[in-house]
Amino acid sequence: MTLSNERNKLKLRQVCFIFIALTPVTKISLLPSVAASFLEEQLWLGLLINFVLDFIVLFAILLLLKKHDNAPIFDVVEQKLSPTCAKILFFLYSIFFFLKAIIPLLEQQDYVQNTLYEVTPTVLVFLPFFAVSFYSCLKELKIFGRCVDISIWFTLLGLGLVLFLALPICRIERLMPIIQKPTYKLIKGPFSTIIWFSDSVYMLIFAGHFLNQKQRALKISLSYLSGAVLIIVLAIIFYGAFGPIAKTRFWAIPELTIFSIAIANATRFDYIAIFLLLFSQVFAIILPIFSSVKCLQLALNLKRSIIPASIINGLLFLFVIVFSNRLFKVFGVIVNVFGWIFICFGYVVPILLLLLPRGTKNAPLKA
């Protein structure tokens, strides 16, 4: 069973753009502050560890795709192990992506309320997001290809403007010393920020649904690397600007831009960057929801995705209603209680899938 036909496949360019335009923008709001609260000056090192781990998983998945000729992973597991195993695995991945969507979703809601509104609005104003999300989940993966062709410019322009405005207030010496005691922080920090990572796992969803073009692995790896560099540079500038109070500055982007002399003399034109990034963030948050829906669809062996889309979006909708403005409590629960799920399905399982034998059990696999 596949999620899309040949016509609906993503182009390799669009897969690369997803790793430059969408996955980085989920890491620009709360993550720098949370990383600073655990790692202080070494926040960039913690993020680097997260990205290196992700990169290893990405490399493993790219090997997996090469090994199985870019076949959909569900089909691979179904044929190499059993259909039941594939369904269970993808059901668990549906839960993983559901959990992965929660924090960025609540974060986005809080961010919009605090940044764009003078007084806290009713939670209802955020609900149209679910209309967009629900609609996207009914479509094929190609919808992200089309969106990302536009949002790549939004992301690059937005981040470019933010970095340009923020650079003058960055004091790089605030990141010293580079290595400090205690080093256990370098384990605790990356673990605590793990929910923003494991983006390589999206390749399990993309597998078999993008065109197999030349230098696939190199292009995807470089795209992932570009996104990682952008985020690490942003984190460095963030800590360079705020130093020891960085952990109290929750929304990195609007906090970074307001100190520019140009903003003081002109007006808050940094909101252009904020809106550009918000546009990309909408699709970036929908991506794990979409992945959860598609995994559930495969696990339940459904032809259409309306039922899993209703279930997942409905649950998240309720979640937002109930846990609105309780972002940090939810964050604590997800990291402390469900952190192992992120390690297991974000890192361990994708690498273990490499152990599946090449070749076929019943018939050759085709993308």
Binding site: N114, E118, V119, P128, Q180, T248, N265
Partner: protein, 433 residues
């Protein structure tokens, strides 16, 4: 079926539009909003008084009275007072455009850490808002009438908010940077002191520009004492130096032609050349204009400011057009803070005709003028550093530098008293590029 789909899409669009616009984006009508451009905070007996200066639109033929732009309220905390501003006036105070926060002189005896922390954590106030300490009450400063601008806070902002590269005469600071220093390992901070240099708020006689005796009146001089939480604060804050009429560029907000005479309200002019120093949240000392320039030379980009050099009777003004600075710590023999500063200068002006060869922008400034300036700056830097360390002010961030460069030994070194640090100043002034 196709028809039904179209209807569904239209219905969805209508529902989305209703959801989006039902709360009108939770906006408050502009007619009900007071856009606060500056805020003054004064300490009262049982709380704070907040005075908010509102930006009022002006017709081209009409200027509003500065006093008309001020609304104030008293509360237990600053935010309590801000809330009361809204309930008492019926206007919703919008603080997102508040670029200046003035702390009144009554906060002299108060730990301002909590206050600045609250400003920092408030989502209503921008962290880029500039902080300044007032010689008088903050409300008086905001209600003062100045010829420089119809709204007094705009006149003050003109002094404080200059281009980065020409800022060296005022030690400007915003909420974020103050919190960074105050919560840093040195627990110190600074902010410019807003001073009335000409005229007076109440229309009293004025001493004219440059008198420092009115920086704080005698009754507000603080005697050294211990606070209940054992924080050492505020040795004698006496301001009896006569150097305020600085020959260095003083950061004055402007000038007026009627100084020294019986003043009217229109004659108030502000100055921010003095700098208040804080330790553990308490005001403990201040920097004179010369010291402020010296501090800025080592801590911020410093171009296009004028420095005075005197040899005999001849005074020469030298324009700075480039600095290289380095602040280092050395624990090898004795804890030493090394302040290295290389300044490129060129002639700007002089009291006496200098040989034609020396004039002109590319000419070499004679060595004796450079040497005189080096000597003066070295003395000023050494004296102010030693005095600051005696007052517990971690000027030049020795604790932070220790943490960064001696991290392994930080736990052993962090408790060294500041007075054990010896400043070693190395200043080179030249006119070579």
């Amino acid at each position: 079926m196709h028809h039904l789909r179209h209807k569904s899409i239209i219905a969805l669009c209508v529902i989305l539009a209703v959801l989006y616009f039902s709360s009108d984006f939770a906006l408050i009508d502009i007619e009900d909003t007071a856009i606060v451009v500056a805020m003054g905070i004064d300490k009262t007996q049982d709380g704070f008084e907040v005075s908010a200066q509102i930006g009022l639109p002006q017709a081209t033929q009409q200027t509003s009275n500065n006093n008309d732009t001020i609304i104030s309220a008293k509360g237990k905390t600053v935010m309590d007072a801000v809330e009361l501003l809204g309930t008492q006036t019926g206007w919703h105070p919008k603080l997102a455009f508040c670029n200046l926060i003035i702390l009144g002189k009554d906060l002299l005896t108060h730990d301002i850490t909590t206050l600045t922390d609250n400003l920092l954590s408030s989502e209503k106030i921008q962290n880029s808002a500039m902080l300044a300490f007032s010689q008088t009450s903050a409300k008086d400063v905001l209600t003062a009438v100045t010829p420089l601008d119809a709204i007094s806070s705009f006149a003050i902002q003109k002094i404080l908010l200059k281009n980065d590269r020409t800022l060296s005469t005022v030690a400007d600071i915003n909420v974020k940077n103050f919190a960074l220093l105050n919560h840093g390992r040195g627990n110190w901070g600074y902010m410019p002191i807003i001073r009335i240099v000409k005229g007076s708020i109440e229309g009293q006689e004025s001493g004219g520009a440059g008198k420092t005796s009115d920086l704080f009146d005698d009754k507000t001089l603080l005697l050294a004492k211990k606070q209940p939480d054992n924080r050492p604060i505020a040795p004698l804050l006496s301001l009896n130096d006569n150097a305020a009429a600085s020959n260095l560029s003083s950061g004055e907000g402007g000038s007026d032609s009627s100084s020294g005479s019986s003043q009217k309200k229109e004659n108030v002019v502000f100055d921010a050349a003095y700098t208040a120093l804080f330790s553990n949240g308490y005001l403990v000392d201040y920097l004179t204009p010369e010291e402020t320039v010296c501090y800025n030379l080592l801590n911020s980009p410093s171009d296009q400011i004028l420095l005075k050099s005197q040899v005999g009777d001849t005074i020469v003004m030298l324009e700075v057009f480039g600095t290289r600075k380095k602040i280092k710590l050395d624990y090898a023999v004795k804890p030493t803070i090394k302040l290295e500063l290389k300044i490129n200068v060129r002639f700007s002006d002089s009291t006496k005709d200098i040989s034609g060869e020396s004039l002109g922008r590319q000419a070499t400034v004679p060595r004796e003028y450079c040497a005189a300036l080096e000597k003066e700056l070295t003395k000023t830097l050494t004296d102010m550093t030693l005095r600051a360390y005696r007052k517990g002010v971690d000027l030049f961030d020795v604790r932070e530098l220790t943490y960064r460069h001696y991290n392994k030994q930080f736990n052993d070194l962090k408790n060294l008293p500041l007075t054990s640090f010896v400043p070693q100043v190395d200043i080179k002034v030249s006119s070579k590029d």
